[in-house]
Amino acid sequence: MSQPGQDAKFFQRGKIEEFRAELHAAEAKDKKFVKRKTVLKKIVANITMGTDMSPLFPDVVQCLGTPLLEIKKMVYLFLVSYGRSKPDQIHLVIPNFLQDCNDRNPLIRALAIRTMSYIPIPVVTEALSDNLRHALKDRDPYVRKTAAICVAKLYSADPRKAERGGFVELLRDLMLDSNATVVANAVAALSEIGDRQDGVIFKLNLATANKLLAAIPESSEWGQIYILDSLLRYVPERHADAEMMAERIIVQLQHGNSAVILTTIKALLYLMNYMENRQLIDYICKKMGPPLVTLLSSGPEVQYVALRNILLIIQRRPTVLKNDVRVFFCKYNDPIYIKLAKLEIMYRLARAENAKEVLAELQEYASEVDLDFVRKAVRSIGRLAIKVEAAADDCIQALLDLIETKVTYVVQEAVIVIKDIFRRYPGKYEGIIPNLCENIDALDEPEAKASMIWILGQYASIIDNADELLDDLCYTFLEESTEVQLALLTATVKLFVYKSRADKAKELVHKVLKWATEEADNPDLRDRGFMYWRMLAINPTVAGEIVLSEKPPITTDSDRMDRGALDQLLLHTGTLGSVYHKNPETFIRNAAGKALKDSPALNAHSRAVLIPLARTQLPSIAPIVVAGPGPTERSTEPQTQSSSVAPSPPSKTDNDTDLLTQSQPVPTSQNSSSNDQDEAEDDEPPHTRQANNLDPYSNLDNAFGSYLADEPRPMASRRHAEEDDLLF
């Protein structure tokens, strides 16, 4: 009997007056309420299209008397859309809501409280409060699970009122409900509340955490995610607790839902910080690999999330996927964002054993069409040379082949990485400099140009015509970017140091120094110019020693994120923060930061590198309200920084489940000096770190300049602060 819907015709803009008239006409002679249904559909379609239908409020509300669920749902949808903008008329529907709250049908009861809680204005919440209290204890689990989420809504509308009403305690009691769906929603609601900066702190003790685990097999997949996620609110006091818990959740890695898998992995990674049993840790790492690979058979969006997370996980737990570099080889039709993410992982997993395979792939990618991808592939070849000494020869040959193609952007990338290879292996590959010099004219990007200029300066002693080449490059000195100007300045000084007898070098350095100090606007350039000039004037020999001093060797160590930062980022596995590799509090207003909590079970190394939660916030700015279609809304001020005094939870009842505590222990990072080598896979000794290292990522960008420029990131960083919040 099922007929396909035929409602597309309702997607036509209509006038308020017409709809009103039609609704009135429908009051008489409306067999089976067909007319009303039709008008309401038109109205809903218009809401969808963005037309303001709020003037119809009193007319639409009239339809609530119709004994047809379909109509009721449409009216409720209308109320969810416009209820907030009609605080003066909302009382018209309260009696209907209240009636529905007491309906015999559990679906109707749940629908009523769900809809009411979507309209966060005092009149409605007032009416909701009592009913919600009943609903939280309703005999029907469907009503209870709906009520649990209603508490979160109530709390977000008015935290203090929800606390005064005792709803948080009621929610906490629901965590022990007999129905797993109810438990999961209660956990979701409590987590939401606990993530608020002004919210009640939500922590789990062992007993409750175990109770929640027991609910997992009976929960829906979403419920499993909420519960697994909440395990990070439990801080193991003993190694054995963490180990036991990990053993219980590890089976979830076989679940078909990628979010269940990633959240399980998040919990496992977290718990591993509190474990001692090396064997178990190895076992867990081994178990995590295959499900992560399987995520790569999901839709491209999930693949993307998985790849960005894998990149973090393999840095922290290098045994994971150690032998699986092949699965990250790019497919020709992978979307570009997946290709770029895979490339990064391929580089991370490259070792002497697989370097040949990886290089062959990278060479293949270097001939593709997407510009970003090709550039990153070329650059990866260079990074591979730097990372894996055994592969350096092959990589250099590959880069030379690429330079042969004369494709400009390929050549530019190649030059940039070759500069670093020279530094990594001094005295080994300088023989290829002539090949580079042939392509000087192809370079038009600052970074490539600067790299080439550096090479010319550094090896001026072995390049016969370095003076001519530099002279050519200097023609456009004043038009160049600062990066290139600085490079030219240094290079000409080096040239002069090498060939101080040559008139040409003297003339050139003089010209450049003059430009730098007299014509340039950039203070860095000017300062550096003066510095060189004075050095050369005072003591040319010493100047030479300084300018050509031995450079610290380039390694790839510095492009690995450091352990403390990783530990912290991995607390956000599977979330937006893990996609951008940024802690959420750094790019999302009012986002809750996370830090590993200290406990006797926390392994010493993790403790030594622990980054305490910085209580920083994005600067608070006035909300920008852009007038758009639709009714105007009460604008809420952004949450101002919460005072350091934690809000006291309402009437602390002292029962066996001590979930909500008042104080949040601030982890102290420097109280342990025991230098246990806790992680075989991370062999650096725990280095002492300043208690407040403000930028844990500071060493990320060093070795490869703007290599990370095409990293995915939130777009705000390029915009004005005022545009930061989209208050539309």
Binding site: T48, A152, S220, P300, V302, R326, E368, V369, P584, F728
Partner: protein, 444 residues
């Protein structure tokens, strides 16, 4: 969590708009339209502007979009979008602009039901269909007793299956389809760069009551375990057990499968949903039997011609055959025309719009081979265009064949009323878009 949920058509018009939270107004949709729909170069499924993030999934020219202002669980958001798409397909038979517009009221009911305040809720299709229907007759207010049954199911431990008494079939049948997608990347030198199988086992269960099912595969770990008792793991017997057993890299199961049981002894036991569902997914990478071999020879003759010699061989038993074979052979961008000749079966033609020669072979028996030779004429260009030399791609299907070697050993159905059930198993291996061989161009 999710603050808003939208469906856009290709033009950026809003087809469905649902705000779960008050932190956005509907006009946030305009931002998405500007940033993504009208942007020709979208390079990520997630866009973050300020604190606002847009997650989108494309399906049939529609954008399914979730917006959030928190550090949302990205995997969950996308899984939710996928689930929504599946629900729509199941409800309306397809998911496109027409079906969404024609059923928008039901869609609104669904988005209200499967997500509350941004938290995904029960989204099991079988359960949803008991109380959200496309027929308005049924959506008249139900009796409370019926509703209680529904709510018990929606929140229960087996939320995917209706109450046992409600499921009745005259004939109890279960159909199992093992579908393997085989992915292969061959190098131009003929070596395997990668070969793997993404398998999924699709089940259609038409079983009365609340049946308890047990499912067995020739899983190497299970078979090894049972042979270990007979002989040592290193003895010849165990090896023989391993030779026709498959090594699965990973398995993932439908919500209904008891993961604790699988973890204990790798047994797959479950109470199935009624009707069609995906029981499990698996991945295999060892001993992959590639059903088709491709041997390409591509030669550039001067700058005006490229010649192609492509040979296709089937490697499986003559009793089986590959069907719907489509070979796509990329040609340079400045190709003007292609002469094609075929030895064996099939038809081939040059499709200028896509710069490929499409070679279609309706059927190729096991052990056979056929070949194509073609000559592409190129226009002489002054500037050398970058041609990425895309790989040759082959799509095909082989019935009753699994590239991984996986076999269903048994499917046992237990129900207290001791009934008969008939089980059917089919195997299908196919390639779509992931069976490729790279080409290197010889110069002559």
């Amino acid at each position: 969590m999710i603050s808003a949920f939208f469906i856009f058509n290709q033009k950026g018009e809003v087809l469905i708009s649902r705000l779960y939270r008050t932190d956005f107004k509907r006009s946030i949709a305009d931002v998405f339209r500007i940033q993504v729909v009208s942007n020709p170069d979208v390079r990520s499924p997630i866009i973050t502007l300020g604190s606002t993030s847009f997650f989108h999934v494309r399906v049939n020219n529609l954008y399914v979009v979730a917006v959030t202002k928190t550090n949302a669980n990205a995997a969950l958001v996308f899984e939710f979008c996928y689930r929504f798409i599946n629900i729509c397909k199941s409800y309306f038979g397809k998911m496109d602009e027409e079906s969404i517009k024609n059923n928008f009221v039901v869609v609104y009911e669904l988005v209200d039901e499967i997500n509350d305040f941004g938290y995904p809720q029960n989204s099991e299709i079988d359960t949803l269909k008991t109380y959200i229907t496309t027929e308005s007759v049924v959506s008249a207010i139900q009796a409370p007793e019926v509703s209680s049954r529904i709510t018990a199911q929606a929140t229960g431990a087996t939320s995917w299956r209706r109450n046992g008494d409600d499921v009745k079939y005259k004939k109890n049948e279960a159909f199992v389809d093992v579908v393997e997608v085989v992915n292969w990347m061959g190098s131009s030198k003929g070596t395997n760069l990668r070969a793997d199988v993404d398998g999924h086992i699709q089940m259609r269960a038409y079983l009365s009551g609340t049946p308890e099912c047990k499912f067995g595969l020739n899983d190497k770990l299970v078979i090894d375990r049972s042979t270990v008792g007979l002989s040592g793991p290193s003895s010849g017997l165990a090896d023989r057990g391993g030779s026709d057993a498959v090594e699965l890299d990973d398995c993932q199961f439908h919500q209904c499968v008891r993961l604790n049981d699988f973890d204990a002894d790798r047994s797959i036991s479950f109470i199935p949903p009624d009707g069609e569902f995906e029981l499990m997914r698996y991945r295999a990478t060892s001993n992959i039997k590639l059903p088709l071999r491709v041997i390409p020879t591509v030669t550039e003759i001067g700058t005006t011609k490229v010649s192609y010699d492509i040979t296709l061989k089937t490697t499986f038993s003559p009793k089986l055959s590959a069907t719907n074979i489509v070979v796509r052979i990329p040609t340079p961008l400045n190709t003007t025309d292609v002469d094609v000749g075929i030895l064996g079966t099939g038809k081939a033609k040059y499709v200028p719009a896509e710069n490929v020669i499409v070679w279609k072979i309706p059927r190729l028996q096991g052990g056979q081979e056929c070949s194509l030779s073609a000559m592409a004429q190129l226009t002489s260009t002054t500037t050398r265009q970058v041609w990425a030399r895309p790989p040759i791609d082959i799509d095909f299907q082989v019935l009753m064949f699994t590239a991984s070697g996986l076999i269903v050993r048994f499917l046992k159905v237990f129900e207290k009323s001791n009934y008969h059930s008939i089980k059917w198993v089919r195997y299908l291996t196919k390639a779509n878009g992931g069976y490729q061989v790279r080409v290197s161009v010889f110069l002559s």
